[in-house]
Symmetry: C2
Subunit: 134 residues, 2 copies
DNA sequence: TTTAGATTGTTATAATATAACACCATGTAA
DNA sequence: TTACATGGTGTTATATTATAACAATCTAAA
């Protein structure tokens, strides 16, 4: 199976915003991104949201729905399928993308009561991270 | 194990808003709720959001995070644990709460690479519903 | 070169959600 | 009874998140 999502050539705006998200240790919110790229010429919310939409579409970033925040993808298996899973610490808000072959296989093969399968899903686990548990 | 979440006595505002959500065939958005209860004396967004927060806390409703919408719970097993799963039709936006012992068991027992388990999670499956597939 | 598609820049506005503060009802303890 | 704690309410204002609409520009293929 050919993987092509990493091969997209990003435009200037896309590269600027992706770099910012990619080097961030935590998910970034849209207006925080805007604030950080204004000095690079990206001045309006819509410019940010358009780039975010595109980066999501090509699998370079994901949206953490429960937080309205965006994180770079570091999981080569989830990008085409848009099948994502995260753990979220409710204390410090640390977010980690889960890369588990077992989990993705289970979910991709899950059938609802009508026998319907779903290749696209988003799963968010909530708890306390290692640091916050101690 | 004693189940107590259904036993909450709702206040007037809580009952009004829960009834509205409960009888809706589709998830409702906060401002749509507001619009529909203004004739009953609930006039401000904050009154709605406070009730929504409480109803979520006691397990009577869930939030569909990817849609910013609220749906009544019809699943007796998910309310204490706040472990929820939904299927969402990307065509008609129909949302169904998934009640699968196998799925909830699998997710409750899932361990991440640090061996961490999560009793709280939210899963949203995306696809086409039966009607939209044909 | 022409054309179609994608991207950009811009202003304005819509939609979603919370802060802050005063007031009220109910239950419990002194 | 009084005092206090808790949770719910009403209200105004504001913060945060996201999209509409339109014109201009760039890029790659035919
Ligand atoms: Zn990913
Ligand atoms: Zn933590
Ligand atoms: Zn439920
Ligand atoms: Zn449908």
């Amino acid at each position: 199976m050919k993987i092509m999502h990493k091969e997209h050539t990003l435009t200037k705006n896309q590269q600027i915003i992706f770099d910012l998200i990619d080097k961030s240790p935590e998910p970034l919110k849209a207006y925080s991104i805007l604030h950080n790229v204004q000095k690079k010429g990206i001045k309006a919310p819509l410019q940010v949201y358009r780039v975010l939409d595109k980066l999501i579409e090509i699998g370079k970033i994901h949206k953490i729905e429960s937080r309205n925040a965006f994180i770079a993808c570091h999981n080569s298996s989830c990008q085409v399928a848009k099948a994502t899973a995260f753990s979220i610490c409710e204390m410090c808000e640390k977010v980690t993308e889960i890369s588990s072959a077992g989990l993705s296989k289970y979910l991709a093969n899950f059938k609802d009561k009508d026998g319907m399968k779903y290749s696209k899903y988003n799963l968010e686990f909530f708890g306390l991270c290692k640091k916050c548990r101690t």
